[in-house]
């Protein structure tokens, strides 16, 4: 094959692709009102950055709205990334807070739809209650990115099993090194959010091959916050005065740490490890030589920046990922400084493919014309 023939072939493939895209966009525009999206779990291929573009969504403003469920640090971090991406891509950025009210969150989104806002990023207060509103936003042609639950044109998810595995493996290594494979472990779960169950499955899997490791407590604090962790740990200490390892979400582990300190049970080799990279956990780790040894962080500024970037691409008719995995980062004193640098400048990380791949993994392709292919099932890259 000559260079010319190859070039002709490429032009033909591009022309065909453009025609198919136009036809697909027309079909989508006609059928979007009726589409239920993809409701059955599918395995998405890796994101193709070179996928064909579609038409620019018509009649929508270049506005990115972040409708927060609350102002917890993790979500605030996502907001920071979104705002930086909006700024870098020339989008208007609006930040609303639903104060944990599903109804308020739905109203806020409805109002924004009415305002022809072009992009939404939402951590739903109540996924089921908010789903119709989000579908309405999708049908309007807007970019809808959700933090975890569907429906959404782009779902931001965390590989929960991998997240738990990172923490479980780190704890197992510590137990092997410091406790000679024998330890009493407390596992503080999070029963209120079913989708987080793989985290704890992974932790149990990491420890199950160590016969002398006893998970002496495996229960969910209620509520899942620092106070819940504190009360639960006090209860556990009544039955098990000696514990070696405490694992769970950062908030509950911080509460457990407070209970351990009150009971005088903190000792240098005690191992506390959490998930979420909460500022309190980061502060404990940075203090050094304390019991809090590790937190598995999902960098919300970076995935926030990624969602904002994809929203801008969407509004420009480009193909965007259907799903993004926020990859877990095991934070310890060894890598804390680099992590904080990345958090402060998520745009630089996103622009560097190698550094971006440490934090993010993207799947599938979708654009405004094909928005009927939105995801309407709890997507995860870790399908069973």
């Amino acid at each position: 094959m000559t260079r010319d023939s190859s070039r002709v072939g490429g032009l033909m493939r591009a022309g065909c692709a453009g025609l198919l895209a136009t036809l697909f966009a027309l079909t989508a525009a006609l059928g979007a009102e009726q589409s239920q999206g993809i409701t059955q779990p599918v395995v998405l291929p890796p994101f193709n950055p070179s996928a064909p573009a579609c038409a620019v969504p018509a009649g929508l403003s270049r506005t990115l709205a972040f409708v927060q469920d609350n102002r917890r640090d993790f979500i605030e971090g996502a907001g920071y990334g979104l705002s930086r991406a909006a700024k870098d891509r020339g989008l208007d950025y609006r930040d609303l807070v639903a104060d944990n009210s599903a109804g308020q969150q739905a109203s806020q989104i409805t109002a924004l739809i009415d305002e022809k806002v072009g992009a939404f990023v939402v951590p739903p207060v109540d996924p089921d209650e908010l789903a119709p509103t989000l579908k309405q936003a999708i049908w309007s042609g807007a970019f809808v990115g959700t933090i975890v639950p569907p429906p959404a044109t782009t779902i931001l998810n965390a590989p929960q099993y991998l997240t738990g595995k990172v923490l479980g493996d780190a704890a197992a290594g510590y137990i092997h090194e410091h406790f000679h494979d024998k330890a009493d472990v407390v596992l503080l779960t999070q029963d209120s959010l079913q989708f987080l169950a793989p985290r704890f499955t992974a932790i149990r899997d990491a420890l199950k091959d160590m016969p002398n490791v006893d998970i002496v407590a495996d229960l969910s604090p209620n509520p899942v916050n620092e106070e819940g962790g504190y009360e639960t740990m006090k209860l556990i200490l009544e039955a098990h005065p000696h514990v070696d390892v405490v694992l769970g979400a950062d908030t509950v582990v911080l509460g457990a740490l407070r209970a351990l300190r009150e009971a005088g049970k903190v000792r240098p080799d005690l191992y506390l490890g959490g998930i979420d990279g909460e500022p309190g956990a980061v502060a404990e780790i940075k203090a050094g030589a304390g019991p809090y040894k590790l937190t598995v962080a999902l960098s919300s500024p970076i995935f926030g920046y990624a969602l904002g970037w994809e929203a801008a691409d969407w509004l420009e008719g480009k193909s965007v990922p259907q799903a993004i995995d926020a990859l877990p980062i095991a934070l310890s004193t060894a890598n804390m400084a680099q992590y904080e640098t990345d958090q402060a400048d998520p745009g630089a990380v996103f622009a560097d493919p190698a550094r971006r791949d440490v934090y993010l993994k993207r799947y599938g392709n979708v654009c405004a014309d094909a928005r009927d292919q939105y995801l309407d099932f709890p997507w995860s890259s870790e399908g069973r």
Partner: protein, 452 residues
């Protein structure tokens, strides 16, 4: 090193004390270990029962929960069949745990919590079952979806696991202590055995050394005794030889003296024969008899075993036989008879007595029977009071009082001197016819004088 009795006794006592203490250590360690083992056995049973009760409690709750789940899913009452039994079993195990953990005050709080959680869990189970029975399926499911039941079960599991863990720790610690105690007993027994072996070895060494020492001492004493006996034998032989030599020498001396006196007597006899003067001849003849009397004593001593004493019967018999022969010239018809008891006198006393006898016999032959015939009687006897009495009697002319001495008077002076030497008493009796000369003396006095 020599072993004294004190050292042996002291060391043996010390060894016995050390051995006794070692034995006591073994016995004490055994006794203590047995007590600990018995205590551990009781603790082990208690811990095992506690563990079993905790596991049974969890099984009961899980059985009840399974019954509830089955009923909620199927609405089939058959699934609830084990429920009541499980609840009863749970209550029983709670009571059992309270009894088992009564001696562990720190377990009271957690056990109360566990009892409360189990009670709440059964309340939740019964609530869902009741809702289902009354047709309120949604409410029952909603109640389950609150995760209250799971939370209660998880929390109960925390306490049940705690009880099991504590029971396991007690079992493990008890076993570890038993292992440590066994090792300690082994160490104590081994050390005590070593001590006992050392003590027995030391005592045996001491005994053997002491026995060897005794045997050596005995051999030394035996050797010394043998040497001493040898020296005694030698010394005895020397003494015997010296005595024999002395006896021989003494006999020789007596023999020489006797011979010399006999020679002197012969010389006197020769001298008398050479003289013409009858008076001188008689005087020499008398002297000869006196010398002979003395020499006869020595002659007797020559043949006698004991030179310190003389048997009078032998001596005087010989002397009288000699006088009878030698004095025949003085009186042809005079007979001499004698009666002498076997009496032993010291040599000097015998000489004196012999001289007295010689004087009186000679005097009798010369003067008693001027007619030339008659009898002279000599008698020596021991009186009742132990005195010796010498009498020389005749039936001759007797002695006239205050009459002048018929001779030189030398004989009387000799008799008096000899009697004085014998501390004796001399009497001359003349009862009418004849005369009796009598010398009485006490031999004990003579022996005492000789000793002085």
């Amino acid at each position: 090193m020599p072993f004294s009795n004190r050292l042996v006794v002291g060391s043996t006592f010390a060894f016995l004390v050390v051995g006794f203490l070692a034995l006591m250590a073994i016995v004490g360690a055994n006794f203590w270990l047995n007590q600990r083992a018995e205590l551990f056995f009781q603790q082990q049973i208690s811990a095992r029962d506690t563990r079993a009760a905790a596991v049974e409690l969890r099984n009961a709750v899980q059985a009840a929960e399974s019954a509830q789940r089955g009923y909620l899913l199927t609405n089939n009452e058959i699934y609830l069949a084990p429920y009541d039994v499980a609840k009863t079993q749970a209550d029983r195990q709670i009571s059992h745990l309270r009894a088992l953990l009564a001696t562990f005050p720190e377990s009271a709080g957690p056990l109360d919590k566990l009892a409360g959680l189990i009670s709440d869990k059964f309340d939740e189970l019964e609530q869902t079952v009741t809702l289902k029975r009354n047709g309120h399926d949604d409410e029952a499911m909603a109640l389950i979806n609150t995760n209250k039941g799971k939370t209660l079960m998880d929390e109960a599991n925390v306490f049940i696991t705690g009880l099991v863990s504590q029971a396991d720790d007690r079992l493990t610690n008890g076993a570890a202590e038993q292992q440590t105690n066994a090792a300690l007993l082994e160490l104590v027994s081994g050390a005590a055995a070593v001590v006992i072996v050392v003590v027995v070895g030391g005592a045996a060494f001491l005994l053997l050394s002491y026995t060897r020492e005794l045997r050596h001492a005995r051999d030394e004493v035996t050797g010394l005794n043998a040497e001493l006996e040898h020296r005694v034998v030698e010394r005895t032989a020397d003494v015997t030889q010296a005595r024999d030599r002395a006896e021989v020498l003494l006999r020789e001396v007596n023999h020489r003296v006797a011979n010399s006196l006999a020679l002197i007597s012969s010389l006197v006899s020769l001298q008398s024969k050479a003289l013409g003067d009858e008076a001188a001849k008689k005087a020499l003849s008398e002297m000869q008899e006196r010398i002979f009397a003395i020499s006869l004593v020595h002659r007797r001593l020559y043949g006698a075993r004991d030179a310190r004493a003389v048997q009078l019967d032998d001596y005087l018999t010989g002397l009288l036989d000699h006088l009878k022969t030698s004095l025949r010239g003085e009186g042809q018809g005079i007979t001499l008879s004698y009666q002498i008891e076997p009496i032993e006198l010291p040599t000097d006393a015998s000489v004196n007595l012999g001289v007295v006898v010689t004087e009186w016999i000679t005097n009798g032959f010369k003067y008693a029977y001027p007619g030339g015939s008659g009898e002279i009687r000599v008698r020596v006897r021991r009186l009742a009071d132990g005195q010796v009495e010498l009498t020389v009697s005749d039936d001759g002319v007797g002695r006239v009082e205050d009459a002048p001495a018929k001779g030189t008077g030398l004989g009387s002076r000799i008799v008096t001197a000899m009697a004085a030497s014998l501390a004796g008493k001399v009497e001359y009796l003349s009862p009418g016819s004849g005369m009796t000369a009598k010398l009485t003396f006490q031999p004990r006095d003579i022996v005492a004088q000789a000793a002085e």
